[in-house]
Assembly symmetry: C3
Amino acid sequence: MQTVFHLIADDPAQRETALTIAENLTKDDSVEIDDIAIVAQADGIEPLTAGGNGSDMVESLLETGISVKACGNTLDLKDLAESDLVEGVETVPSGGGELTRLQSEGYAYIRP
Amino acid sequence: MQTVFHLIADDPAQRETALTIAENLTKDDSVEIDDIAIVAQADGIEPLTAGGNGSDMVESLLETGISVKACGNTLDLKDLAESDLVEGVETVPSGGGELTRLQSEGYAYIRP
Amino acid sequence: MQTVFHLIADDPAQRETALTIAENLTKDDSVEIDDIAIVAQADGIEPLTAGGNGSDMVESLLETGISVKACGNTLDLKDLAESDLVEGVETVPSGGGELTRLQSEGYAYIRP
């Protein structure tokens, strides 16, 4: 099974909950998880920026093999460059496009 | 691919973000999108009402061919008639029913 | 068709809306619903606790045959025992795991 988490909240506590739920999924032995992705957009991008609030959790999730993807439209809107992101974070053209593509490939969608 | 956006937030800024993400999806050439729908319920109905906050964005999205659907239960609850809605908005019996039907037809679900 | 609702909001009004949408789905004759489940985690767990805010709605939904599932990680984090939950509520290892499993079985996902 595969799961994509949608990270979009502007509230730091809510974002932290989202990242914790993703981390907990990696530890749930009752489901066979083949891949986990996180797609972040709007204010959800914050923990993907180097030194941003929650970026330590994103670094830790990347180390577990979770892929983390930043919405390119959000980067443009917030005047962020790829070099502003945590190392290992990928950029996708649009968050909505990536969420559609992953679900069409069979990923479950979770929006904490 | 097909995508349905769930519009439900009571916060105007959050609703605007949701509508922007829908609009951005129409411009993402990296995914082949066959249809986009928006299902609005609860306070998410506001931009679907004529003259309501954000209704200009809904009018613009309708022009791009996105279908916009209002939850009938929400209309009842808020004492709204179909004539109170932006022209071109459809009404469905329940938001939950429409979201279920569309996903069962293969639509990806995005809840900004 | 089958639907899973994700209950996670910390705001009581938002949780009540979520439970109302689940209830309304049981009354929508335009879709053939075979099963409805609610998966609650983080602050969304509140109405699943005996005497908790909104627990009367959860009791009523359980009576209609909806299955209600509490995230085990959330119980641990909040020092809650299964005996603290409304009778009939099930416990699952993780909310994210259960949401993934149900969607992989074809459930539509709704996050009010």
